[in-house]
């Protein structure tokens, strides 16, 4: 019974959205808007689950003195400090423009932002090692992959055009023709797959919520 209710709830909300996509008669658009608004709140509540899980996960490591438990102490402390700063220094409230010189902003500017940017920039190294390892002429497909990548790479930088003057024109042609066609094919297929998945979930054939 409890399971059937879950399936029914999923069906009703899913079906409602599909109807709302086509129908403009009140009160359907209005209900749709309200649903959208209130589900944002559900999402916000879920963060507590995450924080509880985070604290459990790390405190278990500390209790058992697992390998690397000191990292867990650091994680929990920085979480607590940042959460307290965020709640008591109200600079992130409202506008979202971080401008005042609070401790919170200091941590945001000098700790959080550099960490984010540096992690992101690791990609420059990863893309190099991945290319080095993966682009091998093992067969025709792999060769096609490699040649396309090299031409486009040359076309992007000025030295590339010194080495291979046609690279810019060829790489733009590749981007706008075969690349576009394949992207479109993958996109249409994936969209149909996603829609089919959605129909299965709405009909309760697949139940990812249980």
């Amino acid at each position: 019974m409890r399971r059937q209710i879950a399936v029914l709830l999923c069906f009703l909300t899913g079906f409602f959205v599909v109807v709302a996509f086509f129908i403009e008669q009140d009160p359907i658009p209005d209900i749709n808007e309200k649903l959208d608004e209130l589900l944002v709140i559900v999402f916000a509540f879920a963060l507590v689950l995450g924080v509880v899980s985070f604290l459990q996960h790390h405190s278990k490591k500390i209790r058992r003195r697992d390998k690397g438990w000191t990292s867990s102490v650091i994680s929990i402390s920085s979480l607590v400090i940042m959460a307290l700063l965020g709640i008591f220094e109200s600079s992130i409230r409202g506008t979202g423009v971080i401008g005042d010189r609070t401790t919170f902003d200091w941590v945001f500017n000098w700790v959080f932002t550099p960490l984010q940017a540096t992690m992101f920039s690791l990609l420059a190294f990863m893309i190099a090692s991945a290319a080095f390892r993966a682009f091998r002429i093992k067969n025709i497909e792999a060769a096609v992959l490699m040649v396309a990548a090299i031409i486009v790479m040359l076309g992007r930088v000025s030295i590339g055009q010194v080495i291979f003057p046609q690279s810019l024109a060829i790489s733009e042609w590749i981007m706008n023709n075969p690349n576009l066609a394949a992207q479109r094919g993958i996109l249409i297929g994936a969209a149909l797959g996603a829609a089919s998945m959605a129909i299965r979930v709405i009909l309760g054939i697949e139940r990812p919520y249980m």
Binding site: R133, R136, I137, N139, E141, S158, I159, G160, L168
Partner: protein
């Protein structure tokens, strides 16, 4: 470290090291690798070269901080080029999220380099919200949109603006744009009012501007860091005294060129190693490739 760190017998940390060195050297000291200028960029340079001292152009800051790494160098080069040739610049900002700030940053940096006088050789009119409507209005009278300049001086009291009432009194409009704003200049200011328009765009949005360039609705297109580096190179070639200063995009492009070459070099090296020892099992290449 385990064998997994190795690729075809080479520790992949060598790849990391070379990428890091390749990126660091030009940042410490620019190499000045050759940058081939393209007709799309040359068109703007030639246009400004063809102007007489005292002519006026309009420069619009239509971007914010997120596009600054690509578009700031363009702004600086264009301002330098104009000031060097005694061409007056009317500067405006139309991008809501930071256009004003970018304009001030660029002017504060370039103005002290030249003996130029605010109000005579250049003027900054400030930021105005309203997008297309503003562009349309300025075709009639700039002073409707900007009754006074950024300092609060009415336009009629500014010597430069006494010469300029609307687009027709300027020789060229340059928009450094993020997203859609450059298109507005092409479809409105160029197409409707016949004003020559050049656009500096980020690399991501540059491809969609090519259509306007091809259709003749834009005089010139500077695309991304590369476009900026081309302009810097043109300036360096014609005005050696400015070369030292105009190297920001060139420096970034040096890094790009070197690291791209390093990656391509490693791909070739990897294939040589692979061909020599075919027996080695590589798991990479993915399913499609390994089928």
């Amino acid at each position: 470290m385990s064998d997994a760190m190795k690729i075809g017998g080479i520790d992949k940390r060598w790849v990391y090291l070379l990428v890091a060195i390749g990126a660091l050297i030009p940042i410490i000291k620019p190499l000045g690798l050759p940058v081939l200028s393209t007709p799309a960029v040359e068109a703007l340079f030639e246009k400004i070269e063809s102007l007489e001292p005292g002519d006026v152009i309009m420069l619009s800051f239509d971007y914010g901080p997120s596009s600054a790494p690509e578009l700031d160098p363009m702004a600086e080069s264009i301002l330098r080029h104009c000031f060097q040739r005694d061409i007056s610049v009317v500067v405006v900002a139309l991008f809501p999220l930071g256009g004003d700030n970018q304009a001030k940053i660029a002017l504060n940096k370039i103005v002290p380099e030249f003996p130029v006088v605010e109000g005579e050789d250049y003027v900054y009119l400030g930021y105005k919200d309203g997008g297309l409507a503003v562009l349309r209005r300025m075709a009639e009278d700039i002073s409707i949109v900007f009754p006074q300049d950024n300092r609060g001086i009415p336009l009629e009291d500014i010597p430069l603006m006494q010469r300029v009432q609307n687009y027709s009194d300027t020789e060229l409009s340059v928009s450094l744009a993020t997203g859609i704003m450059g298109e507005w200049w092409a479809i409105l200011v160029n197409a409707q009012f016949g004003q020559p328009v050049a656009v500096g765009a980020t690399a991501v949005s540059a491809p969609k501007y090519y259509a306007y360039l091809k259709a003749g609705q834009m005089l010139s297109l500077l695309g991304g860091l590369k476009g900026a580096a081309e302009y810097e190179t043109l300036i360096g070639e014609h005005y050696p005294e400015l070369k030292e200063r105009s190297q920001i995009a060139t420096r970034g492009m040096d890094v790009q060129s070197i690291v791209h070459l390093i990656i391509i070099g490693f791909i070739i090296l990897g294939n040589i190693v692979y061909l020599i020892s075919r027996s080695e099992r590589t798991r990479a290449g993915g399913r499609l490739a390994s089928k």
